[in-house]
C-alpha cells in the first residue's frame, strides 16, 4: 500500500499552550483513519495543520510523497488536493448551494463554469440534494448543510479528505444522513482522516483508529483492538466514560 499521508513529530502551540506534542501518524491510500479522544485533545488542530490552515512549529507532513512542510511549498496548491469539512459546516451564506459547490473548482482550479456546474449537479444528485441546488444554506437543515459542505470539498476531487467532527453540531436525528454519506465515501475508496465522537461509527468505518490524548497519540490500531482491548489506561478510561454516556 502506498502512503497517502505521513506525519512525523508534529508540534503545534497556541501561545504558551502546546496543543500537539509530537504527533506521528500514517495513512495509506484508500484508508479511513479515525481520530478519537476527548475535546481539547488536539484532533481538530491536527486536521487543520494537515491542511496548512495552522502553521506548525516542528515536524513533517508528507502527502502522497510531497513534503508540505518544506520551504517554498504553495499552500494554495496543497489545499486543492486536501479537502476539509468543518464541524460548523462553514458554508458561504451569501451563495446558493450550487455556487458554494462550484466556487472552488471555478476559481481555484480554473474549471469553466458550465463544466463545474454540471459536475456539481451530478454530485448533488448522487447524494440526494439535486433539488436544493438553488437554495441558500440558511434554508437547509443542519444535516443537509453538512452534506453540502462535504460535497463542496468533494467537488475539488481531493486525494485526501479531512472530516472534523462533522456531526457534532447536528441534532441527533440528523446525524444519520451525514454518517451515511461518509460511509459511502469510505466504501468508494476515498482516503480519509476522520475526527469523531461517534464511537460506534468509528468502530464500523475505520480501518485504523488513533487515540489522541493531550496532544499525543497514546495508542493506535485496528478498531476491534482499540475498542475491545485497549492497552493504555487513559484509553480505557476514555472509552469507559463513553460507554457510561451510552455512546458506544
Amino acid at each position: 500500500m502506498t502512503s497517502a499521508l505521513e506525519i512525523e513529530g508534529l508540534h503545534k502551540s497556541f501561545g504558551a499552550t502546546e496543543v500537539l506534542k509530537g504527533v506521528t501518524l500514517s495513512v495509506a491510500e484508500h484508508e479511513a483513519v479515525c481520530l478519537i479522544g476527548a475535546s481539547g485533545s488536539g484532533k481538530s488542530t491536527l486536521l487543520r495543520c494537515i491542511n496548512l490552515l495552522e502553521p506548525i512549529d516542528a515536524g513533517r507532513i508528507v502527502v502522497a510523497g510531497r513534503d508540505l512542510t518544506a520551504p517554498g511549498v504553495d499552500v494554495n496548491d496543497v489545499r486543492k488536493e486536501i479537502g476539509i469539512v468543518f464541524q460548523a459546516f462553514n458554508l458561504f451564506p451569501h451563495m446558493t448551494v450550487l455556487a458554494n459547490v462550484t466556487l472552488g473548482p471555478r476559481k481555484a482550479l480554473g474549471v469553466p463554469r458550465a463544466q463545474a456546474e454540471a459536475e456539481a449537479v451530478e454530485l448533488l444528485a448522487r447524494f440526494g440534494l439535486a433539488a436544493r441546488r438553488d437554495e441558500y444554506p440558511d434554508r437547509l437543515s443542519g444535516g443537509q448543510q453538512q452534506r453540502v459542505a462535504i460535497i463542496r470539498a468533494l467537488a475539488m476531487k481531493p486525494r485526501l479528505l479531512l472530516l472534523d467532527e462533522v456531526t457534532s453540531a447536528l441534532d441527533p436525528e440528523l446525524v444519520g444522513e451525514v454518517l451515511e454519506l461518509v460511509r459511502e465515501l469510505a466504501e468508494g475508496g476515498m482516503t480519509m482522516v476522520v475526527a469523531t465522537h461517534e464511537m460506534g461509527f468509528a468502530r464500523e468505518l475505520a480501518t485504523r483508529v488513533y487515540f489522541l490524548d493531550a496532544g499525543r497519540i497514546l495508542e493506535h490500531g485496528p478498531p476491534e483492538q482499540i475498542f475491545s482491548s485497549p492497552k493504555e489506561p487513559r484509553t480505557q478510561q476514555f472509552l469507559a466514560r463513553i460507554v457510561a454516556a451510552g455512546r458506544l
Binding site: N76, K80, F92, H94, L103, G104, A108
Partner: protein
C-alpha cells in the same frame, strides 16, 4: 450634488482598499498597515471644514502652474480624503464581523487570500454595513455644502487682507493639530479595547 456624485463612488472604492490593507496580516505589510491607520486617524480627526479650507484655499495659493485651482476639484478631493477615512472604518467593522471560519473555508478550497476576500469575505461584509454606509452617504451629502463656504470665506479674507499672496493658514493648521491631538489617543484607546475584547473571545473559544 455634482460633488456628491463624483465623490461617493471614489470614496466607496478607496475606503474598501484602505480597510483591506489595514487587515492584511504579516510583518511584511506592517508599513502599509501603519500608513492606512495613520491616514484614517488623521482625516477622521480633522474637521471637514478645515480640510476644505486648507486645500481649497491653500492649494491654489501655492501658485504652482500644474496644480488645479478649481474649487470644485479641491472640494471633491477634501471630501474624498475625509469620508474615505470614515467609510474605511465602516468597512473594517464589516470585514471583522465575518467569522474567521469563513476565511478558513475559502482558503481550504485553495482560494488565494485575495480570492477569499473577493468572493467570500467582502460580499458578506458589505451586506452587513449597508445601514452605516447609508449614514455616511447622508453626512457626505450635507458636507458638500461646506465646499460652497470656500467662496464666501475667500471674499471675506480678501476684504480684510491686502493680497491673496499674504494668506496665512497657520491658524487653520494649529486648530487641525489640536483636534488630531485629542482624537488620535481616543481612537487608539478604542482600538485597544476592541483588541482586548477580541483576545478574550478567542481565549473563550479555545477553552470550550
Amino acid at each position: 450634488m455634482k460633488i456628491f456624485c463624483i465623490a461617493e463612488p471614489i470614496i466607496l472604492a478607496l475606503a474598501l482598499v484602505v480597510a483591506v490593507v489595514r487587515g492584511i496580516p504579516g510583518p511584511v505589510f506592517a508599513p502599509l498597515r501603519v500608513l492606512a491607520i495613520a491616514y484614517a486617524d488623521l482625516f477622521r480627526g480633522v474637521p471637514t471644514i478645515l480640510v476644505i479650507l486648507m486645500l481649497g484655499l491653500g492649494m491654489p495659493a501655492l501658485g504652482v502652474s500644474w496644480i488645479p485651482t478649481s474649487l470644485t476639484f479641491w472640494g471633491v478631493v477634501s471630501l474624498v480624503l475625509v469620508y474615505t477615512a470614515y467609510v474605511s472604518e465602516v468597512y473594517r467593522a464589516g470585514l471583522e464581523s465575518v467569522h474567521p471560519s469563513q476565511e478558513a473555508a475559502a482558503r481550504s478550497l485553495g482560494l488565494t487570500r485575495l480570492q477569499g476576500l473577493r468572493y467570500v469575505i467582502v460580499p458578506q461584509a458589505v451586506r452587513r454595513v449597508v445601514p452605516p454606509l447609508l449614514n455616511d452617504f447622508i453626512g457626505l451629502q450635507k458636507d458638500t455644502a461646506l465646499v460652497s463656504v470656500i467662496g464666501a470665506v475667500e471674499a471675506l479674507q480678501q476684504a480684510s487682507i491686502d493680497a491673496a499672496a499674504t494668506f496665512n493658514f497657520t491658524s487653520y493648521l494649529a486648530a487641525a493639530v489640536l483636534f488630531v491631538a485629542i482624537t488620535v489617543p481616543l481612537t487608539r484607546l478604542t482600538d485597544w479595547l476592541l483588541a482586548r475584547e477580541r483576545t478574550r473571545r478567542q481565549a473563550a473559544a479555545v477553552a470550550v
